[in-house]
Symmetry: C2
Subunit: 308 residues, 2 copies
């Protein structure tokens, strides 16, 4: 009998065409699950569930394997193409326009968890259609110790009921600031957080890009603000939120408890991984990290925020 | 011989007409020096230099006096009107449009420091025309222990040389994020900070509104990020930056040293006063504060940011 999986992520694996004001990469390996796994792999064993086509590069599979990411749940469609996204970032790198989206084999994607994944300790439902996120939850044989979920504005617009259904079943929601307001119709983040936590998740992380993140929970009054670390140069913001989630969940999978202080450290670990993510295209910077660099960046967050 | 003044602020005193998405106040006492002084007064003795007209309300003078603000340097023009500004905030309260500006007696303003102010220990040059800020500096008989300066995008546009001249003579610059980029033409805050500090100020505070503030200095590598505290309801953002500066300089005027840890605490005190400021129109909330409320808010910032 196989050992219980520590952390399973289900989500997109993609090939992106990323255009920034200063540079461009046409075949940039991406996808929420890819970024999540590359970030989480620095903390824990992580297994990925997703789908790619025949065009998905072997070097990327090799990078994932080298990082220790389990690929038993990665379906390869031999007569299909990988999900492709093309986007252009604005001058300030905070906004982007989607130029093209080709779902390709992702259109028919029905996540199937390998048997050994169905008792995973932690599960992360990266941003995909909420109905698929629900399907994944239904495949679990035991309730994971912690289930996290990410989503996007598209699903708030077109699949609001399914989204609310799946949000009600998870422990952690990670969501952008604007999306938190959009989902709830609230005008303040405090009000949005209260509404979201009434839907189900006792832990809420509101992502604010270059301004950091807010953590609500686990207690009803607990609130933590983490800055992002100012960087001289951002190469490619793609995947920052997914790497945040990977660092956050990866750290939690190694933690004995899920109390307030542990969750705060997890937010910093998420911020650490997101900060590396944006310093390169694709997962380049995450792939090439060693432990000393990661620990030094965590220490930089301590220095950045201490004042007492 | 009179005692040395602890902290002198020179800047605008105004009557604002503030329109927010939910409310409005037609005769809202404002001005950068007013806000600064009301915030600083909770930490230290503060003296104000400015000008008002015959329409400036007696109750506001009384509020300032009650707060302990010295008004020897507040000129009253008996046949003139007070500087008036009318503005409307957008739905998200982060942006605003100026609807009307009437300089009135402020147009002829030539700051004259009372004799006893010219040896002030700390001096803050709130946002006015850079040439006037220079005039104030020239009136000082001794170099203050710390000179702070605030400015705005208008002066970057129309008085760039004067602005750079006065910036080169101060110790602390407080400036908005967008203005820091505009002043330097840099594309990252780190690059902007480096350029600004090369101009002169060894301490730089970049204000980010609802996202908090960044402190650069005093050492070349020292960097501190403070969040703003999430608030359920913002009544009126007018003066938040000035109250930040008031809390910051007010605290520093009581501090024995100006080392890194002291400056970090000063940023938090600035954030505390700014957070109160926006919870009411004008300086209402600042006027009505007691010490226990202020200390509780500081403690809330500790709770909001601690993770080690």
């Amino acid at each position: 009998m196989s050992q219980k999986k520590k952390l399973v992520v289900v989500g997109s694996v993609a090939i992106d065409w990323v255009i920034t004001p200063v540079s461009e990469r046409e075949e940039s390996v991406g996808g929420a699950a890819t970024y999540f796994a590359m970030a989480a792999s620095h903390h824990t064993a992580v297994d990925l569930v997703g789908v790619v086509g025949k065009d998905f590069p072997e070097h990327a599979l090799q990078d994932l394997r080298t990082a220790g990411v389990g690929l038993e749940g990665l379906e390869v469609i031999e007569d299909g193409l990988t999900f492709r996204w093309k986007g252009r970032y604005h001058e300030n790198m905070n906004q982007r326009d989607t130029l093209e989206t080709h779902l390709n084999c992702f259109e028919q994607f029905e996540p199937k968890l390998p048997e050994s994944y169905r008792e995973a300790e932690l599960l992360f439902l990266a941003n995909i259609q909420p109905s698929l996120q629900l399907q994944v939850l239904e495949q679990m044989k035991t309730r994971p110790r912690l289930v996290g979920l990410d989503t996007m504005n598209l699903w708030i617009d077109v699949a609001s009921d399914d989204l609310r259904a799946v949000v009600s079943k998870v422990d952690v929601l990670t969501i952008n600031e604007e999306e938190a307001l959009q989902l709830t119709g609230a005008t303040s983040l405090l009000a949005a957080a209260r509404e979201i936590r009434e839907l189900g998740p006792k832990i809420l992380v509101i992502k604010r890009g270059e301004y950091g993140a807010l953590l609500f929970g686990p207690g009803s009054e607990e609130l933590f603000a983490a800055p992002a670390i100012p960087l001289e140069k951002v190469d490619d913001p793609t995947g920052a939120g997914d790497c945040f989630a990977g660092g956050f969940m990866g750290y939690l999978s190694t933690a004995e408890t899920l109390d307030g202080p542990t969750l705060r450290r997890a937010v910093i670990w998420g911020s650490v991984m997101a900060s590396f993510c944006v310093q390169g295209f694709s997962y380049d910077r995450l792939r090439d990290l060693d432990r000393a660099q990661i620990d030094a960046r965590y220490k930089a967050f301590v220095d950045l925020t201490s004042f007492v």
